[in-house]
């Protein structure tokens, strides 16, 4: 079989990217596969191509709605029409239309919550699923930085589907997490493809300040003397707004982006960034998915990120074009405390646990009443069906210990005087094969390659009247 020909005929690409072919061949020969591929390395092709060759449908379980929407949009953009997504955005009418024709779709995206609903399960039982894809499979790990309890339930669906072959995809997983993926997805002897994580064109820098004010001042100077495009990751929504405000005041074209904004506004910020109308996006970790910009030159972390995995993923958005890009980590004294609270804030509190255990009808109203947060609700509800209240508290305590360990790992970045690259790889149980000439702050950095100075970008042609703007949009 000529896979290259299928690749070209179906998607117009002439060659595979590293890893894709190995993974696809194993899938086609009927094996289960765990593929650890960095974002931007064409993960989705690993199931797109098999879908062209296998009979029946490919079922892709995707934990994040925004990610799912982006994948559907990307597939459609490639001209794929036979694709649907089953998630909470569908209204009853749309959903029944989709479910009644389920077998006719080549790609079916689904959220884990939907996957386990009895009616949907029965519909899935009736059709032929040739491949089950667990996207962002690290979410399965309760020790992971992005644990989604619903994800553990994928195993419930496997017998219903007649045990199709399984493809688990993730950008970042430690050996421990890989083991958990195997266990929970019940794949005993998968083929594991692990792409080297190291990105040679990214150099790591770190700047330390004695207080937050100095840090902001440095950032102001930096953006005034360097061009984007770049992403500045802030720890909180508020901070992302503040930094954006600061940049705008300095006459730099920047916008903020976070999960609290309405959907349309978020799309607009992505559009502007993609168009080059913005130089910087100041964002929480919500920004990144669905952003396909190859020439991001800077990723700046305004404070210590909450996990090594998250850090590596965010940094990995820079320099997709292969040209030099700089990852700058900013630190000022006292940031650790904020880190601690950010990390532990995600976990359910004792009070939330006991409220959910005390509620008789599941406790959904606790969220709307503002007594329990959405994520806490999701996590505790899962454990409630399996553990007692005391056991759940212990479970969460263990997670807390694990999270503190994780944050210790990331905090170490600030204090080490050895190689950043080596340390990061070590966190993923990988060995460094060779160092690029410009490696990291501790190994010597020639900034001239990364700090290209500031190109003066012509101010966006300001359209004065609405008629002008319409003419610009529709010059017909």
């Amino acid at each position: 079989m000529n896979l290259e020909k299928t690749l070209y005929d179906a998607y117009g690409f002439t060659s595979f990217r590293p890893g894709q072919k190995e993974v696809i061949e194993k899938i086609l020969s009927g094996e289960d596969v765990i593929a650890l591929l960095p974002t931007g390395m064409g993960k989705s092709m690993c199931y797109q191509l098999p879908a062209q060759l296998l009979e029946g449908s490919v079922l892709i379980v995707s934990p994040l709605l925004s990610l799912m929407q982006d994948q559907v949009a990307q597939l459609k953009k490639m001209g794929e029409k036979s694709v649907t997504a089953i998630n909470s955005f569908l209204d009853a009418q749309e959903r029944s239309a989709v479910l009644n024709n389920l077998g006719s779709y080549r790609f079916i995206f689904i959220s884990p919550e939907m996957l386990v609903q009895p009616y949907i399960k029965s519909k899935l039982r009736d059709i032929r699923i040739s491949l089950l894809v667990a996207d962002e499979a690290h979410c399965i790990s309760q020790w992971g930085f992005d644990f989604r309890p619903d994800y553990l339930r994928i195993s419930e669906i496997l017998p219903v589907l007649g045990h199709p072959r399984v493809l688990a995809l993730t950008a970042t997983a430690t050996a421990k997490v890989t083991e958990e993926i195997k266990r929970y997805l019940k794949i005993s002897e998968p083929f594991i493809y692990s792409h080297p994580m190291d990105r040679k064109n990214i150099a790591y820098d770190c700047k330390k300040f004695s207080n937050g004010h100095e840090k902001l001042e440095w950032l102001r100077q930096f953006v005034k003397t360097n061009s984007g495009p770049g992403i500045i990751y802030a720890g909180t929504r508020n901070k992302s707004q503040q930094i954006s405000e600061l940049l705008n005041q300095a006459g730099i074209r920047a916008a903020y982006y976070h999960g609290g904004m309405e959907h349309q506004d978020r799309i607009f910020v992505q559009q502007q960034f993609q168009n080059g109308e913005l130089e910087w996006v100041c964002s929480t970790n919500a920004f990144g998915m669905g952003v396909h910009i190859p020439d991001i030159r800077h990723v700046i972390h305004f404070q210590i990120p909450t996990s090594i995995e998250g850090y590596v993923q965010e940094v990995g958005r820079a320099g997709r074009d292969g040209s030099p890009a700089l990852a700058t980590l900013l630190y000022s004294a006292g940031d650790e405390e904020m880190l601690e609270s950010l990390v532990l804030d995600d976990l359910p509190t004792r009070n939330e646990i006991s409220e959910i255990f005390r509620s008789e009808d599941g406790g959904g109203q606790l969220v709307s009443q503002g007594i329990v947060r959405q994520t806490s609700f999701r996590i505790v509800s899962y454990w409630k069906t399996r553990l007692t209240e005391q056991q759940t508290i212990r479970q969460i305590e263990q997670q807390k210990v694990e999270k503190i360990k994780q944050s210790a790992k990331i905090k170490k970045l600030i204090t080490i005087d050895s190689c950043f690259r080596e340390y990061l790889l070590d966190c993923f149980d990988e060995q460094l094969d060779s160092k690029p000439a410009d490696c990291c702050i501790n190994d010597g950095l020639d900034y001239s390659k990364f700090l290209s100075g500031r190109k003066t970008i012509a101010a966006a042609t300001k359209t004065v009247t609405w008629q002008n703007r319409l003419d610009a949009i529709l010059p017909c």
Binding site: L90, Q264, D265, T465, R469, L470
Partner: protein
């Protein structure tokens, strides 16, 4: 219209008869009996549901502003306008929330995707990330494009011309029309976020949003009434022809088949008080509603007279003067706005 002016308008109407949160529910478009009734009693149709995503803290801050400016004061549970507020001149509004029911968002979504598509296609760019991801809107726009022969540059010109002419006819400030245009995007031109528009205009986000809704309402009205066939299609299914809520419409169906209030409640498995709410809604919206099936003409006249002479629409005040009437009868009578002779 500015957000503060809307609050003043709403609070003026219910002056001394409602709590401070009643305008909030109305602006959010809450479909409770109380809110729906207030719309009819106080003629607040323009403002119903114009800000479905209004956040409580934004509302509270604006209300605090009114207190600080000395425009309103609390009086027990209710709010009263001060004399200073009575002096505030309010301009007429193009808002028509009751008619459009938040569907200006659907109109805008269709228009956004249509304009974005035309912008790309007519500049030889075939692939782009759609600005609207809702499946049904995408499907709708695809069908529409097929019908208008969209690759033809004449179609693009016609649509653009239609936009210019119809928007020209909308009687709002030019800067408000700009807001709507800034929410549209095309090849290499991104849409602007509310915050970006607000910063550029040095106004608050909520004011920008209100002005966008008002402009859209005015615009949709122009398109509906005028001769803009290409744009008129964008309103298909957008303008609701019955002003009733879905559930009230079902109750109406049973009622027209001769069922009594109690029977409808039993058939639908709803509380009689809920069905009463539906009747009030019917009375409010249907000029032909026969109120005399629910009370003697003399009782009706008495309720209306008390409401007028005491200048009140508070149920409790009227009940004190007309103890023989039930609350339901009072609500029904008020719902007809005293227009029945």
């Amino acid at each position: 219209m500015l957000f503060e002016d809307i609050l003043i308008t709403l609070l003026k109407a219910v002056d001394g008869e409602r709590t401070i949160s009643s305008p909030y529910h109305l602006l959010k478009g809450k479909k409770s009996g109380q809110t729906l009734q207030d719309i009819g009693y106080y003629k607040l149709h323009p403002y119903f549901g114009i800000l479905p995503k209004l956040e409580k803290d934004v509302y509270d801050r604006a209300v605090q502003g009114l207190f600080k400016k000395g425009l309103i004061v609390t009086d027990g549970e209710v709010v009263r306008m001060t004399e200073k507020a009575s002096a505030v001149k309010l301009a007429p509004t193009l808002l028509n929330g009751w008619k459009f029911r938040g569907n200006e968002q659907l109109f805008m979504a269709r228009l956004s995707l249509l304009v974005q598509t035309l912008s790309h296609i007519h500049q030889n760019s075939r692939v782009f990330d759609p600005v609207v991801i809702a499946e049904d809107t995408q499907q709708w726009v695809k069908n529409y494009l097929k019908k208008i022969n969209y690759r033809d540059s004449a179609s693009c010109k016609n649509i653009k011309e239609g936009i210019v002419q119809s928007l020209n006819a909308v009687e709002v400030d030019e800067s408000n029309k700009m807001i709507v245009l800034q929410r549209l995007s095309g090849l290499k031109i991104g849409g602007l976020t509310w915050e970006q528009i607000a910063r550029e205009e040095s106004r608050s986000i909520i004011d920008i949003q209100v002005q966008a809704v008002e402009t859209l309402h005015g615009w949709m009205e122009v398109i509906e009434k005028g001769d803009f066939p290409l744009l008129r299609s964008l309103l298909d299914g957008v303008i609701q022809h019955s002003a009733l809520t879905e559930t009230a419409r079902r109750t109406e169906g049973y009622f027209k088949n001769g069922r009594t209030l109690e029977e409808i409640a039993a058939l639908r498995g709803l509380k009689t008080s809920t069905i009463e709410d539906h009747f009030v809604e019917l009375a409010m919206n249907d000029p032909g509603f026969d109120i005399l099936g629910f009370m003697e003409a003399s009782l009706y006249a008495k309720i209306i007279a008390v409401s007028r002479t005491q200048n009140t629409k508070r149920l409790r005040d009227i009940k004190e003067n007309v103890p023989e009437a039930s609350y339901f009868q009072i609500r029904l009578a008020l719902a007809t706005k005293g227009e029945i002779q």
